[in-house]
Symmetry: C2
Subunit: 347 residues, 2 copies
DNA sequence: TTGTACGCGTTATCAG
DNA sequence: CTGATAACGCGTACAA
């Protein structure tokens, strides 16, 4: 019986052979419900993603590759990964609650964290093993991993500044997804360090989708004093932005510098002129998630406690033609602004 | 106890109230493993998708919207939808087997069917309730749904033929995904009906990705007698094709007609010149899947048998600028070919 | 080394 | 209408 199948030591080779043979002949496979009930664990890790919250291009290569990484780790330990897809009409908190309370999984990854994310508060209260993919203002100490928005902003702003840009637009999300705020703050800080102030009129909040990018394009073109560069938190926006610019005869890398974000959706790699963006290994990120999840589950099983991990995942700049241009740096383009204070502050 | 919570009739209002109150106070929620063990059903439907098999842009809006539709139906009946993501290194058959044999789900949707799909053979053998999303040569009678490739081919070829095109390239998948074959056959039939023969040199097999589309572009440009039009089975290919054509000064809709497929990835809606493609309601398709799955599960529960459904899902032509051109129709471009036989056949 | 009985949490059933 | 009990399939603990 189970001793033979599960490879316990206290069973003779002969018996094990007989049992295995019989199991194969009868096509026996253990019922997971029975197993879970007995052991108190499901052997399953859930990964919750939310419909069209945040990036439009959810799922595409982005999460898929992450799943691959997570699974490669979990599979080695006999754990399954299942994706819970929280539809557009469903409440994310209720959805997560349901998964936890029915004990459908042993651990959870919750993606697309919002600034105030009640799922996180709930999971902490519940002392349920989980990792947040994305930071949040919610909750206290808990494990999370997030992309290095600060590093991206620093590299993007650094590059543009060096090329003389001072009037740089920042395109971010119009919704409550946390990284929209993180990114703007990071850009503001990177500009501050260089004595440039990020004013409100240079922050463009739009849907993170191609349509949002198209609207961004319209707004940029309508500016009295058009920014000489734009950085954005999501690449679908670039895909919608490019055609708008082209229609107006404004060429990325010649008439305006454009910096995208990560390399998803993959279509963004085929923009012309090629888009300056950032590279990261989503598979390795998934690997990290899986590995840390194992640690959380081990800790819970053995009653130990494990320190919450906080991981910032690096991205590497991949320069493209969209930032090929330089502009004459004039710090006093707009005489109504006094940069002195900032220059002083940065020294 | 359970009678009160599950709303059975044989319990007084007062008791029910007390039980509900206590349950709320203690934060009680039924354990799904216990429930499944007792009832023999998990209350869960699985949807298996495969990593980068077939279309590169898997997941993106395409499957996500389908999930939404499925879930909207299942949720009404207290069923959960979970996504099983079969990673690139895993064997799809073994993966499906595992899900079935451990009794993780009550029913299964298997997407991205291949021409010979051992999952289907297995599921039929096992008499497990499932729906294939995509046709296959495998298996006998079973439920499936698939896109109307024949209708798409007929509309695409019909449009191009009317505009004078006779030398039409067909771009399809290089891998074993079933619809790649279906589409080519459908195009061949549509051309046959018009007395045009689809020769082997006009069939281009490439990866269904932007990179595949780029290679397609190179091959088209290298043709001695370049096709005047190209139809393709997947839109990522168009996204890779466009830049290649542009580099060579070949403009879609002026120098070559281009017809895409469905409207995913969404980026394809932002191509310039706009791409002629096809529209379909993925949400409704998911709704159909959910509804039919319910029928399958009901039938199994009541021991009845339900006739396998075979559904062809319609797509509607959305003309774009990429097919704005007409060409002089000359049926004898290539004197080595004799169209008479086909003209005769079509009369 | 092997056989057996128990209990995980649930719900259906049967007796009260 | 309500309370008690058995059984779903598994793994473990304990007895043989």
């Amino acid at each position: 019986m189970s001793r033979a199948l599960n490879g316990r030591a206290d069973v003779s080779e002969e018996t094990r052979g007989r049992v295995l043979a019989a199991a194969k002949r009868l096509g026996y496979s253990p019922n997971q419900s029975g197993r879970s009930l007995r052991s108190g664990a499901t052997g399953t890790v859930g990964f919750i993603i939310i419909a069209n919250r945040g990036r439009a291009s959810i799922g595409e290569t982005f999460f898929m590759t992450v799943f691959d990484g997570v699974q490669s780790v979990l599979a080695k330990h006999g754990l399954d990964l299942v994706i819970y897809y929280c539809g557009a009409e469903q409440d994310p908190e209720a959805y997560a609650k349901r998964v936890v309370e029915r004990r459908l999984v042993d651990g959870l990854v919750v993606a697309q964290t919002t600034r105030i994310d009640r799922r996180i508060d709930y999971l902490i209260r519940r002392k349920f093993p989980f990792i947040a993919f994305g930071r949040s203002q919610s909750g206290g100490a808990h494990s999370w991993i997030d992309l290095d928005f600060e590093g991206v902003a620093e590299q993007a702003i650094g590059l543009l500044y060096k090329q003389g840009h001072r009037r740089i637009a920042v395109a971010t999300s119009e919704d409550e997804v946390n990284f929209g705020y993180v990114y703007v703050d990071a850009c503001r800080a990177a500009l501050d360090r260089r004595g440039v102030r990020l004013t409100e009129d240079l922050i463009f909040r739009e849907a993170m989708s191609e349509a949002g990018g198209a609207r961004l394009g319209e707004r940029l073109l309508a500016c009295e004093a058009r920014p000489t560069a734009v950085v954005m938190v999501e690449n679908s926006m670039a895909i919608g932005l490019y055609p708008k610019l082209r229609e107006a005869g404004v060429k990325p890398g010649r008439d305006i510098a454009v910096v995208g974000f990560d390399q998803s959706p993959t279509s963004s790699l085929f923009l012309q002129p090629s888009l300056t963006q950032f590279r990261l290994s989503l598979f390795d990120l998934g690997d990290w998630l899986g590995t840390h999840m194992l640690a959380l589950l081990d800790a819970r099983r053995s009653g130990r406690t494990v320190a919450p991990a906080r991981k910032i995942w690096p991205l590497e700049l991949v320069p493209g033609e969209s930032t090929a241009m330089t502009v004459a740096a004039s710090d006093d383009q707009d005489p109504s602004r006094s940069p002195d204070r900032f220059i002083a502050a940065s020294s």
